[in-house]
């Protein structure tokens, strides 16, 4: 992926056609994004040589207890920085840098990070992906962190780590961690065909998190994103891995069985797994058709893949997928603006409802690896708005996110608690983009989008934030689902409220499939609320920012 892929133009041509037609009228609201990074005090760039052509992650999570997402930005050769969110409710974005309390050497060579509460103490911890030793940062009050590698018996290793995912396996107090590694630079013949193994770290039986016995996931194929996903509704998530064909030899996309108490093993062709070789950069999961089985958006160079379980060829118990990206207008294989017709390079991918119409949209961070001549130099990020016919329509230009920057990681989160998702994009060798969603543009200003909910889950005991839960939000006959997960995207993750657009619905019913598979009763909630669902409680609680936005 980092070097030119000369055969790529042919692949794009074969894929044929176009993705979403940028000239097609879009009936739904197009959110108006304004980049407030400079005024918000966030100008961190992701920098560095070859090893940092990949990575560039963002972790969005609350580190000071006010429920507003704070931002941890990887810096590559620049120090990673934590920004505390000072944005007023519904107001301009505002952040202030926070002293992480880390040694300078621990803050550099960072490629990405994912938030999760590893030790179940109520404070979000961070899995920090680095070139060299990875870090597990134990979070404390008021955005304080300490390196917990020793405390958690975690060997950060020496690899070039580019992906991460986590899950709480059945009956485990602490999460199982998966680290995805890229090229083994020190192997003979590197970088070609010298992908490092990935690692699976299960918690040892102990009172605290102990990760002293890593399991090698061999072979590794230069992984750039991984995600625990319950692809078949079995209740036991598998580990989906997307890999960069630029460097592997004989490799492919992978999915691992991760069954409790058993060694992980790859899904095989005999089980239905089909060979697919792409420049895999980021995974996003969403149940687009409401059948309970997730679809996957896989970013690559050229065509984005949009995979749907193929019930005809495989049935629901075999991981056979067909690519529906072209049918849905989601290939996003070339820039939609700027006139550069060379193929795109996609990185972070994330499904979310950015215009609150009740339909999932797809964000893809785009950007040339560095100066690859066969790929678009001006390669704006995609904002593919979901339509009622199941297709996607490109709105990145109209929404104001088309920038002459090289996007990498990102996060769609509500930074100012107004019910509309804002967008953070980490850019290589360029300033971070911090897009505030102002709603729908009008001739006289902006107006709010559709109705929304933001949902916080809590369960007593381990896995307080219910990673692995599935949320089902019903409005009339329309059901929207969200999975609570740690992983995916490109070196980027976020925790906190889970956002759901409701369109014109004034109220909704929520059911939660908790991580152990138990379904909740139905919670009745009203739109435009932050709701907290605590397992075992009869009714939803509400959360109000100060001042409330409504």
């Amino acid at each position: 992926m980092i070097r030119a892929a000369l055969a790529f133009a042919a692949l794009v041509a074969f894929a044929g056609g176009t993705s979403a037609d940028p000239a097609a009228p879009i009936a739904s609201d197009i959110p108006h994004f304004v980049n407030e990074a400079a005024s918000a005090g966030v100008e961190r760039a992701y920098t560095g040589p070859w090893e940092f052509f990949v990575g560039g992650g963002v972790a969005a999570f609350d580190c000071d207890g006010d429920r507003r997402p704070d931002l941890f930005l990887a810096g590559g050769t620049s120090p990673a920085t934590l920004y505390r969110n000072r944005s007023a409710t519904g107001g301009p974005l505002s952040f202030e840098a926070v002293d992480l309390g880390l040694a300078e050497e621990d803050r550099t060579r960072v490629l990405g990070a994912y938030p999760l509460d590893i030790d179940n103490d109520g404070y979000m911890d961070l899995a920090v992906l680095r070139l060299g030793s990875n870090l597990l940062l134990k979070g404390g009050p008021d955005c304080r962190f300490e390196v917990a590698n020793h405390a958690f018996a975690f060997d950060g290793g020496k690899d070039w780590t580019t992906a991460f995912a986590a899950t709480w396996e059945a009956n485990q107090r602490f999460p199982t961690l998966a680290f995805g590694n890229y090229v083994d630079r020190h192997a003979p013949g590197a970088p070609w065909g010298t992908c490092a193994d990935n690692l699976l770290l299960r918690p040892a039986p102990a009172d605290g998190p102990v990760y002293d016995d890593p399991i090698r996931l061999t072979p590794g194929y230069c992984t750039l994103s991984m995600l625990f996903t319950d692809w078949n509704q079995s209740g036991t998530p598998s580990l989906r891995v997307t890999n960069d064909r630029q460097y592997y030899r004989g490799g492919e996309e992978q999915m691992w069985h991760v069954d409790p108490g058993k060694l992980p093993r790859l899904y095989t062709a005999a089980e239905g797994w089909r060979h697919l070789s792409i420049w895999g950069m980021g995974i996003a999961e969403a149940d687009l058709n409401g059948d309970g089985y997730p679809e996957y958006a896989l970013t690559s160079m050229g065509d984005t893949k949009l995979q749907q379980l193929d019930n005809e060829d495989g049935g629901e118990d075999r991981p056979v997928y067909r690519d529906i990206a072209f049918d849905r207008g989601a290939t996003a294989q070339r820039p939609y603006a700027g006139g550069d017709r060379r193929p795109s390079t996609g990185w972070h991918s994330e499904f979310a409802d950015v215009n609150n119409d009740g339909l999932l949209d797809l964000f893809i961070a785009k950007g040339n690896v560095e100066a690859m001549p066969d790929f678009a130099a001006y390669d704006p990020d995609n904002l593919l708005l979901g339509s009622w016919d199941g297709t996607f329509a490109e709105a990145g230009d109209k929404a104001g996110i088309a920038m002459p920057l090289r996007g990498r990681g990102g996060a769609l989160v509500d930074l100012n608690m107004d019910g509309m998702l804002d967008l953070v994009v980490a850019n290589r060798d360029g300033p971070t983009s911090l897009f505030r969603n102002l709603g729908m543009a009008t001739e006289w200003g902006t107006a709010p989008l559709g109705n929304w909910l933001e949902i916080e889950l809590f369960q007593p005991g381990p896995n307080r934030n219910a990673v692995g839960a599935h949320i089902s939000v019903k409005t009339g006959t329309h059901v929207m689902t969200r999975a609570v997960e740690v992983g995916g995207g490109h070196a980027s993750g976020h925790s906190g409220f889970i956002h759901v657009g409701l369109g014109t619905a004034e109220r909704a019913e929520i059911r939660v499939r908790w991580p152990d598979g138990e379904w909740s009763h139905s919670y009745r909630v009203f739109a435009n609320s932050f709701v907290r669902l605590e397992r075992g409680k009869a009714a939803a609680e509400l959360w109000l920012p100060e001042p409330p936005p409504f």
């Binding site: 009936a27 009008t442 409005t475 006959t477 014109t504 009203f526 609680e541």
Partner: protein
């Protein structure tokens, strides 16, 4: 007056988003190709351009808007207007049918009326309806095609009158603002003090329970009474589940007539201009809806009449006393104080799908005080208008184990349980028999006796009272009339 004759304009697709400043309503031309011939079977002969509505309306402009609204309210919609929804249900969220309907009209799932005034007509247009004008309320999701009158499929409801509806909505808006202010103050105090704060919720003397706020902003809504957890007073509908006349109007147009207002069923929210697949897109513009709102909002407040018969006057005076002593006034509050008669449309507390104040540059505002009937409303020493509503805009449980005639529905509605209804406003009750939410109670005596639950104490006092006092109460209620 020809419907909309003075307010002609283009359909103005999504024109409400332009939020243009107020233009002169009376000068708007009709589009030449939009003008039907005199013999046209269209009931809606032109549409009102919403972009012409904004800012304070003069009395003349309000008159024109109200006239256009009245014309729409009485229009017998036809298929040429877009009446009918062959592929859409009556649901308030755009919902597709699984298959086309076999009959355009059906008393259960609709269409069930030709015009708004088909049911809202007693004692005059905008009024209530007889039992014959009952409707069958189903949310329109799981049982979209129900054909059975069995109450397991729907709730049968009598038609409420709309006189004084503008005042009701204004009261509700002020109460919503009060309650949210109390909530927000509690949130701020809990954060400041670092301790949980419990605050009583009350507005205009009506108690809505309490909330408890933790220092981290988490709100326990379990103490809230008679209102939804979002603290929006929803004054319309028998259950008190609709926020505004605008929301109610859009719901009803679709449910009863298959006329789909663009601001909810249009392409913005459904991806198509013709969601119901009847061959007509943009069936009613936001301007049309505004006219309907203006007509309803300006309907006169019912009044307390003074009987010509001296004996009736005497009995009514005694009735007013026992109304209090029986405890009727605990919920049927004779007046609620209103700060302002300025009616803004779109309204401030609607949610997406009903045009919101925040979606326009400047809402149209009309002063109900310009209307002759409003000038007669009494005021208190603080200058507040005393709205003679005989209600509290709060929901109550109205049945218990012994007295449960009013718990005769099998379906909850919009999260409100089957035995719970908003206090029926008694203004105009003399003009709007029959009684009860199903319209199946023919006398005031019988409907009082049907009060259980939170109305049980007052009901029992009535039942135990002397015949003369019971008769006096009826005499009093019979003075609360819609001015003919």
């Amino acid at each position: 007056m020809t419907p909309g004759a003075d307010l002609r304009g283009s359909r103005g697709k999504r024109s409400w988003q332009t939020g243009a400043a107020l233009l002169f309503l009376l000068a708007l031309p009709a589009l030449a190709d939009d003008a039907p011939p005199p013999w046209s079977e269209r009931a809606v002969r032109s549409h009102i351009d919403f972009s012409t509505l904004g800012g304070a309306l003069t009395a003349q402009q309000l008159d024109a808007l109200v006239a256009a609204g009245r014309a729409l309210f009485t229009a017998r919609f036809t298929t040429e207007d877009g009446a009918g929804r062959p592929m859409a249900t009556q649901a308030i969220i755009a919902t597709k049918r699984k298959r086309p309907v076999d009959a355009a009209f059906r008393r259960t799932a609709g269409l069930d009326a030709n015009a708004c005034s088909s049911c809202h007509r007693e004692p005059e247009v905008g009024g209530a309806g007889d039992f014959t004008a009952n409707v069958f309320v189903s949310e329109g999701f799981e049982s979209a095609d129900f054909i059975d009158l069995d109450p397991q499929f729907s709730n049968e409801r009598n038609t409420n009158h709309l006189f004084g509806a503008g005042l009701i909505e204004l009261l509700a808006r002020e109460m919503t603002a009060d309650l949210r202010r109390e909530r927000d103050t509690a949130v701020a105090e809990a954060r400041r003090s670092g301790k949980p704060v419990t605050v009583a919720l009350a507005s205009k003397g009506v108690d809505f329970g309490s909330i408890t706020v933790r220092p981290d902003g988490i709100v326990d809504p379990s103490g809230i009474e008679g209102i939804d957890p979002d603290l929006t007073v929803r004054p319309f509908g028998q259950k008190g589940v609709f926020t505004s006349l605008r929301q109610f109007t859009i719901n009803a147009l679709n449910a009863h007539h298959g006329i789909e207002a663009d601001e909810r069923f249009g392409a913005r929210w459904t991806g198509t201009a013709d969601f119901d697949e009847d061959g007509h897109g943009e069936e009613l513009t936001p301007g049309d809806v505004s006219a309907l709102v203006a007509f309803q909002a300006t309907l006169p407040s019912p009044i307390e009449t003074v009987p010509a018969d001296p004996a009736w006057r005497t009995a009514a005076a005694r009735g007013a006393e026992v109304f209090d002593t029986f405890g009727c006034a605990a919920c049927h509050r004779p007046t609620l104080p209103l700060d302002s008669l300025a009616f803004a449309d779109p309204a401030p507390f609607d949610t997406a799908g009903t045009l919101r104040t925040v979606e326009v540059q400047e809402a149209a505002t009309y002063d109900l005080g310009l209307l002759a009937w409003a000038k007669t409303l009494p005021r208190n020493d603080q200058g507040q208008i005393l709205v003679p509503i005989y209600g509290d805009l709060k929901r109550h449980v109205i049945a218990d184990d012994e007295v449960n005639q009013l718990a005769n529905e099998l379906l909850s509605q919009r999260f409100v349980e089957r035995d719970t209804f908003i206090t029926a406003e008694l203004w105009g009750v003399a003009s709007t028999a029959p009684y009860g939410h199903r319209g199946d109670i023919t006398t005031l005596d019988a409907v009082i006796r049907a009060h259980g639950g939170e109305g049980r104490t007052a009901r029992d006092a009535y039942v135990a009272a002397a015949d003369a006092d019971r008769s006096a109460l009826v005499a009093y209620l019979k003075t609360l009339a819609i001015d003919p």
